[in-house]
Point group: C2
């Protein structure tokens, strides 16, 4: 293990510089930061001419110097002595309320192995990195090349997150009433709780960011996105989101074409008499909103949308696993790494890895999920339905009362149900968000990804219910297809306008007019304010809202599109701008987020697949409800009972076809499977070749 030299003094002469900017700014930096400097490195392999500032720890304004010094020393000390083995810089530009953190080569390499990242071997393969075998990996001497920026920053956070108190101790400079660390307590969590640390976030690299922006949204590239650069700069989560957005946008082309053909082309090209009559309905369906599309168009659309949603998700899985291999994220060792910081339990020996860590039995977590979380989520979903029925009931009551009395008061009363429903929904949403977060914390997941998946699932279910309950109510309870079509068209157009506004126009205005003064300051003294400007940005709210937007889109398209064939066209238009808007937002308007290495889009994959199944059911019943189909059947002399039975049969057959299709398309391309099996085979062999199994 590398020892990081004598520590804790904070004032030492050094040649290490903050950042690798051009010559002029380097001098300014040295001047500005000369009150403190980077931790001196004694390990020969870790000495480098410049230290790259990776992560900023934002301390409270009134922090005691003794606390800061203590924290810096903790960050610098080797892991054996309970530190994080990182490099710290007090960065006292003005008020001394930050610590800039970087990482030496040894720490980076060891963490790379711990995380299970794959890197390029000398023969070009992607191989799970091994510290012992480091010299056979490409670029292992240049950390800037070997690890992506996002990985380096995540490693710093990873090391900070697992700082634990070696023994019970007081935090220097913090009143004793709050500032006592128990043995093995998580230090960063405690400091955040006590208020010493306000935030920890990764720093932007201005040069790279400018390059990325140029390639991404403000430049020539219209058709593609620089996915590799996005992944390198923002990390796996973001890389997968934009890859999925890209993939999904391309996937919208076929249904958009079909929608256009069904709407505009086919009516002119009809040949037989009955066909022309039916297809005239399609035209009407567009021109007059209160008529439904033709039976054949309807059926083509329904079957197509079922096949399409299956194929999209199956091919995305393949794409996702290729990306995951390409980015070296296929063999993440999260299961075997330290548990997430919030995880608690009785201290014990992990039976798998043999390390001392908190343990929490799996069955107890499952019991909590099954007996508490599931019923509670169900209860909240019930509350949504209750609110909706209450609203309809109230509306009917108010209308009845208004018709009876006709007074001004009763006219005003007409708005009461809507207002009450909006307030109710908002309150319910807020309560639910808190409950969902606390429930998931209480479930006590060991891995961050598991925590995220459970939390996302909870919020997702609720949001989805909120969005679609009304549409389902209109479609299947009221069985009012014209209203559904009207509602869908307006939702699509209105939500898109609103989204474009909030995502493009507002940010642009904010950036141009409100951030302008700051920018001017920055031009005067670029280095002081580089940190300051980033500290003033709001925290990135996460990708949840972006994913849910896609999911709702996908829902409109696959669940109800046969009612309104132009859905795909509108969505395609929306997504082309959405990509740029999201890119701009992420690059300019928020602090850079940390991004854990992940190997897929997680629970969102499942959500899209579930929607695919729902779409089969929905389309079948929409088809059944369509007045044209009923007319068609009555003409053919088929009884209502038989139509329903037929619809059931069609639904079941389609679901079967969908499942066979999903089963037939392998989830990963052959070459990825071979690479994966190669690694499995060789690790099995490695185990066999050891003369004595090492852990016994």
């Amino acid at each position: 293990m590398t020892s990081l030299g004598d520590k804790g003094e904070g004032h030492r002469e050094t040649t290490a510089l903050l950042g690798n900017e051009d010559e002029g700014s380097v001098q300014t930096q040295t001047k500005v930061l000369n009150q403190g400097s980077w931790t001196q490195v004694s390990c020969p392999c870790c000495v480098s001419e410049q230290v790259e500032p990776l992560v900023l720890i934002q301390l409270s304004d009134n922090i005691q110097p003794v606390t800061k010094r203590w924290l810096i020393s903790l960050i610098e000390v080797s892991e054996r002595d309970g530190g994080a083995a990182l490099l710290a810089h007090p960065g006292e530009d003005e008020c001394g309320d930050v610590i800039v953190v970087s990482a030496p080569r040894c720490t980076l390499l060891r963490a790379t192995e711990d995380l299970g990242l794959c890197k390029k071997y000398h023969n070009g393969d992607m191989v799970a990195f091994s510290y012992n075998d480091r010299d056979n990996f490409s670029n292992v001497d240049d950390m800037q090349e070997f690890l992506t920026l996002a990985e380096r920053q995540y490693i710093v956070k990873y090391e900070l997150d697992f700082l634990r108190a070696q023994k019970e101790q007081k935090i220097p400079g913090v009143p004793e009433s709050q500032g006592v660390l128990k043995a093995r307590e998580n230090i960063c969590q405690k400091l955040e709780k006590v208020g010493v640390i306000k935030d920890i976030f990764p720093l932007h690299d201005k040069q790279r960011l400018t390059d990325l922006c140029r390639n991404w949204y403000s430049g020539k590239q219209i058709w593609g996105q620089p996915l590799d650069s996005i992944q390198a700069y923002f990390g796996g989560t973001m890389g997968f989101y934009f890859s999925f957005l890209d993939f999904y946008t391309w996937a919208l082309v076929p249904p958009a074409i079909l929608g256009l053909v069904l709407t505009f082309l086919l009516p002119g090209g009809g040949s037989g008499g009955g066909v022309v009559k039916e297809q005239a309905g399609v035209m009407e369906g567009v021109v007059e909103v209160d008529d439904s599309p033709s039976v054949s168009g309807h059926m083509v659309q329904a079957v197509f949308s079922m096949l399409w949603s299956t194929l999209v998700m199956e091919f995305w899985k393949r794409r996702s696993s290729s990306l995951s291999h390409h980015w070296g994220l296929l063999h993440l060792a999260e299961r075997f790494a330290e548990p997430r910081p919030g995880f608690h339990g009785t201290l014990g020996i992990n039976p798998v890895t043999g390390r001392l860590e908190p343990l929490f039995p799996e069955w107890q977590r499952q019991l909590r999920v099954g007996l508490v979380s599931v019923p509670l989520v169900g209860f909240f979903l019930g509350m949504v339905v209750l609110g909706m029925t209450g609203f309809y009931h109230g509306e009917a009551l108010a209308q009845g009362f208004h018709q009876e009395s006709g007074s001004l008061f009763s006219g005003a009363l007409l708005y009461l149900p809507s207002v009450a429903h909006i307030i109710y929904t908002n309150m319910l949403g807020n309560v639910y968000r808190t409950v969902a977060m606390q429930l998931t914390e209480w479930e006590n997941h060991r891995e961050e990804s598991s925590f995220q998946n459970h939390h996302t699932t909870k919020v997702l279910l609720f949001t989805f219910f909120n969005y679609f309950a009304v549409l389902f109510h209109i479609a299947f309870y009221k069985q009012d297809l014209p209203l559904l079509r009207k509602r869908l068209a307006s939702l699509l157009i209105v939500t898109q306008l609103v989204n474009q506004c909030t995502e493009v126009v507002v940010p642009f205005i904010v950036d141009r007019f409100f951030s302008a003064p700051q920018k001017k300051q920055q031009e005067d003294d670029p280095n002081v304010d580089k940190l300051r400007a980033q500290r003033s940005l709001p925290t990135f709210p996460g990708l949840f809202a972006e994913y849910i937007e896609l999911l709702v889109q996908f829902g409109y398209l696959s669940l109800f599109s046969c009612v309104y064939p132009l859905t795909a066209v509108l969505l395609l238009l929306n997504n082309v701008t959405e990509i740029r808007a999201d890119a701009y937002k992420i690059c300019k308007l928020f602090r850079k987020p940390f991004s854990a290495p992940v190997s897929n889009i997680g629970v969102w994959q499942t959500a899209f697949e579930v929607l695919g199944f729902l779409s089969v059911m929905s389309n079948c019943w929409l088809l059944l409800l369509s007045p044209r189909v009923r007319e068609f059947c009555l003409e053919g002399g088929i009884s209502g009972r038989n139509i329903i039975l037929f619809a059931i049969l069609v639904e079941h057959v389609l679901i079967l076809v969908k499942m066979i299709l999903a089963f037939m398309i392998p989830d990963e391309p052959d070459w990825v499977r071979i690479k994966r099996e190669q690694i499995e085979f060789h690790s099995m062999q490695a185990l066999g070749q050891q003369n004595q199994l090492p852990w016994r």
Copy 2:
């Protein structure tokens, strides 16, 4: 690698003995077998006082001595020289048409590692065996303890199966027109094709078999089965079958109790008026066959059977993975081992293992499955339906004709449809069996388990369709519940009687009266006839028929049981005797089968789960069709349309509940998961600890 000494002479003096019988028989054996003897072993660790005869190669009657000598030498030569590194004994008791094969310790140990079998480590854990680390495993010096009999025999077969010609060569003693081996051609396959080898089968061990029988079916143990001994003697496939049979029989107890309660107890104990009235229907449902059970009983049964089938399969998965760990079958390395003998393709380097072997691209196999196999199977299923409708059509025609003419000829004609249908079904079944086998061969699966699964799936689908098409037709097309109930009851009773007859009575008679003369001979000269008696037994037909019987049972129970609540009771009675009958059959009436190590019951698991899903649908629609439910609804003033929609809702909700339940119950117990993760973690670590990755 062990060298097996100078080979091919066949006549050498030796102390090795055939079998470990009591002193008297040993002498006889030595005398009988003194014309030939076991291969002499030069490897010090493989020398043992007695050689256990494991496998018998049955040659053709008119085999040339030169061919036999050549084959023996092949079996004896080390693997490096293209042999199987086994021990051979010419066993020339009378006609010289057998070779008895055994295996030395080194070959057994290396194959154990190749197959990925887990064995007990010195600390009591089950660890994947590693030849380098062999001294740390328990019992490694005593092959009889270390490997089970079935494993030792399978290893012999495994080594024989992978005998390949080193270069193009003539088979000595076989006419040149047929007897030329191409380079790398599979020798045993070729010899079977040419007719030199008639059969290869493992030998029974009389002492162990007697012990096993005593513990299994002819002795005190009434409640359990000696599953470990069964697995040790007959191998994994058989072990899992009997474990499943055992588990499933116990699982029948709750539905049997429910059936009894619903049928006999509840009517007496009814309290409320309406309840009594409804429950009276249950009583009628038993006494008068043409009435249906009550609504509440019906619904209880339907929901119960849905939950039951889910729980049974989920808990079986857990049981199966525990067994698999207990038997050391959790980490089978089939994927990385040699491909199955029938596998062909262009010779190349396997990208995963780096070994020279035939390669066949995965996508091509999938294409064959998807574009040829699936449509062909669909075609045959269509033919079954066609046959059925043809039969009904023909019956109606014949009856009409008979009513019109009323002659003797037309009366005889009434039987024509049935006869034609039976002939048609039989012919179709025979054609299908051939087609299924050839299709699966043509799909060219690399692994034996994959081959078995695809073949089983094909036959299974057809058989299942054959069994249930009529019942589904009666239930959902004719919608004639009384007929369904009658049919179900008679099927249950008749098939059970027939099964008991064919499985217990007939074998018993055969064994007592027809085998009696042989037995007497055996008493005179026990050793000559030990092999001869086994050679005269028929080959074991595999477990397909046994599994299909269970599946059909499970189908009756879960698909239609709400129509006839006593199903479970009848099945329980049947299975208790079934276990003994199967045991008797396998021990006494057939040659011992080879049994590859497997880690679960394979595709049967899926088949049972699919049946669980079908059962939800079936029960919902049976409920809907039940005249009592209709009556009940009409009394409540619910329209037919709404009942159907309600049934659809119930079906979807139940399927959802089933899926959540299946998801919530983990497929393996915690302790198995931990063991599995331990191995994964340590093999990952082993890979990391190597300084230079070995395969580059």
